[in-house]
């Protein structure tokens, strides 16, 4: 097991041990292992249908694994619901953007603060002091975040009216608004043109430098992965076929044959 990239002293942000997932007779993920340290920037690649998104769905609590264990900061997440996993510090984006289309940009950020609202139904009806305070704080933080991401001018727009690249950015900003320890990016460059992709690379690097977060991303654009990641894991048919630094992956025969097809046969 190569776990060299994990800093030895701290508990890994994410540990996955012997994870397997079966849907009916189909094995989507087999014996998956990984450990991500703080401030890592790791990649997960593989051909279409290799099970990459399934791994993310398992980590974000959307599926319950058939076997194996997932731990966030040392705590197992078995039986937790996605919103509880998010509260533990896992945020993610989606392949196809999943913003709330009929809510303003500001509300998209604010609603994502549900895990730490600190008030419930009766407070919201009575507009208690707690309510006023928490709403004010959340709004302020959301505004700050939009400011930092240079999205503040879209504050009262609906996401559908924004350019595609900006929507991606907003979705990433929304994910970061839950103060994650681990940020899962599922094909952030999908559907972007080459200019947008350059912006995205800068954005992710900036996030990596600014926020205290370990990033794990799925991406098909190899140039993005090669440029950003310090460690890449390759899976095919649910099984890990290679892992290592971008250079190692680039030259790895199993990766080449998985992507280009095995010519020797």
């Amino acid at each position: 097991m190569t776990q060299l990239h994990v800093q030895e002293k701290s508990v890994p942000v994410l540990e996955i041990e012997n994870l397997s997932q079966r849907f009916g007779g189909l094995t989507a993920i087999a014996n998956f292992n990984i450990a991500l340290g703080e401030n890592d920037l790791t990649g997960l690649i593989g051909p279409n249908g290799a099970g990459k998104t399934t791994v993310f769905n398992l980590v974000s609590g959307f599926y319950q694994p058939s076997e194996g264990e997932i731990r966030i900061g040392g705590t197992p997440i078995a039986k937790l619901k996605p919103h509880q996993v998010t509260a533990m510090g896992v945020a993610r984006t989606f392949q196809n953007i999943r913003l709330w289309s009929d809510m303003t940009v500001l509300d998209n950020i604010r609603v994502a603060q549900h895990y730490r609202l600190g008030y419930g139904f009766f407070h919201s009806i009575l507009r208690s002091k707690t309510y006023q305070q928490r709403e004010a704080e959340i709004t302020k933080e959301a505004n700050n975040l939009l400011e930092v991401f240079d999205l503040i001018r879209y504050r009262d727009e609906f996401p559908g009216n924004l350019p595609y690249g900006t929507q991606r950015k907003l979705e990433i900003a929304r994910a970061l608004s839950v103060h994650p320890k681990l940020l899962l990016l599922d094909e952030p460059a999908a559907g972007l043109n080459s200019n947008d992709i350059q912006d995205l690379i800068r954005l992710i690097r900036w996030i990596h430098n600014t926020f205290d977060v370990s990033i794990w991303m799925i991406e098909h654009h190899m140039d993005v992965m090669m440029e950003l990641c310090n460690h890449i894991k390759v899976i095919d048919f649910g099984e890990t076929i290679a892992e290592g630094s971008p250079e190692e992956i680039r030259k790895h025969p199993a990766v080449i044959s998985a992507y280009l097809g095995d010519d020797t046969l």
């Binding site: 974000s60 959307f62 619901k81 996605p82 919103h83 998010t86 509260a87 945020a91 993610r92 989606f94 999943r98 913003l99 709330w100 289309s101 009929d102 809510m103 509300d107 604010r110 609603v111 994502a112 603060q113 549900h114 895990y115 609202l117 008030y119 419930g120 139904f121 407070h123 919201s124 009806i125 507009r127 309510y131 709403e135 959340i138 929304r174 994910a175 839950v178």
Partner: protein
Amino acid sequence: MLRRYSVHMFLALLGFVLVYLAYNELVNLYILSILMFMGVNIILSASLNLVNGYMGEFSCGHAGFMCVGAYVSSMLGVLLFAKDKVFGLPLLSPEFALYAFPVLIFAGGVAAAFAGLLVAIPSYKTRGDYLAIITIAANYIIISGIENISYIGGSRGFMGMKRLIRSMEDVVDLPWMLIWVFLFTIFSIWILRRYLSSTFGKGVSAICQDEVAAEIMSVNTNKIKTITFMLSSGLAGIAGGLFAYILGYVNPGSFNILKSTEVLVMVYLGGMGSLSGSVLSAIFFTVLLEVLRPLQIIKWVVIPLLLIILMQFRPEGIMGNRELGDIFPWLKRFYRFK
């Protein structure tokens, strides 16, 4: 400062005028009862809009919850404050009815809210048309459940609530029913607006627009669904309680699927996700029902026909998902709609 309270003042004035007119018998009982049914319909359509419009579910059993509220508040009222052949002598002095009335209505609302769990719990796992069936089934189960309890009159119904209203009017001579309907209508809209405009309540819209994203972005969807269904059915229960006391008589047949359909029509006529749309369409629909009353049975041909034609021209309802303030921006000076 004046602007800030303008809506409160407007409502107070409206309430005062209504009570004044009713007290001096400047409007007849018929108009008065229409006004009261208007209030009941506003509560019903606004509360169903919470589930069907804001949360994007398709509940078609709203009348079932109304029925629970109607029966619980009526039975409690008659048990406590009126002489009845089922429940015997009143347990408390009828004079207290005046003060206890809102409690009775609330009790009906709370009971209906718990009946709402019948739909809320299945909604964790299923949504859309399958949930729609569950709501229809819930409506039927509630109705035929009550029909089979002969102790409270079965399908013949339950009465005796008029005595309660009379004893309220004996204590202080005011049109109490009108006052309570007015207050509860405002209360319902107030509670819905506050819920929906809080970040907590916006979780409802998040579920509607993308449930997966809501769950992943830390919205406790099951909790929000439970609260929303309970709030919606609870308000329906309040409407049911008022309805029962206005009529002075309830029977399970008045809460059948046809009643649910009426409420559905009001919601979609007003526009999904528009509280002011729901209020307007409830007023419009109540008036329409009364205006067309002379047509007798043809009324129920004309009204659906009108609605079909209306929907061909405005397939998103009167207001779409906008509020009054989006259409008449000057209104925003007085009132924030969202």
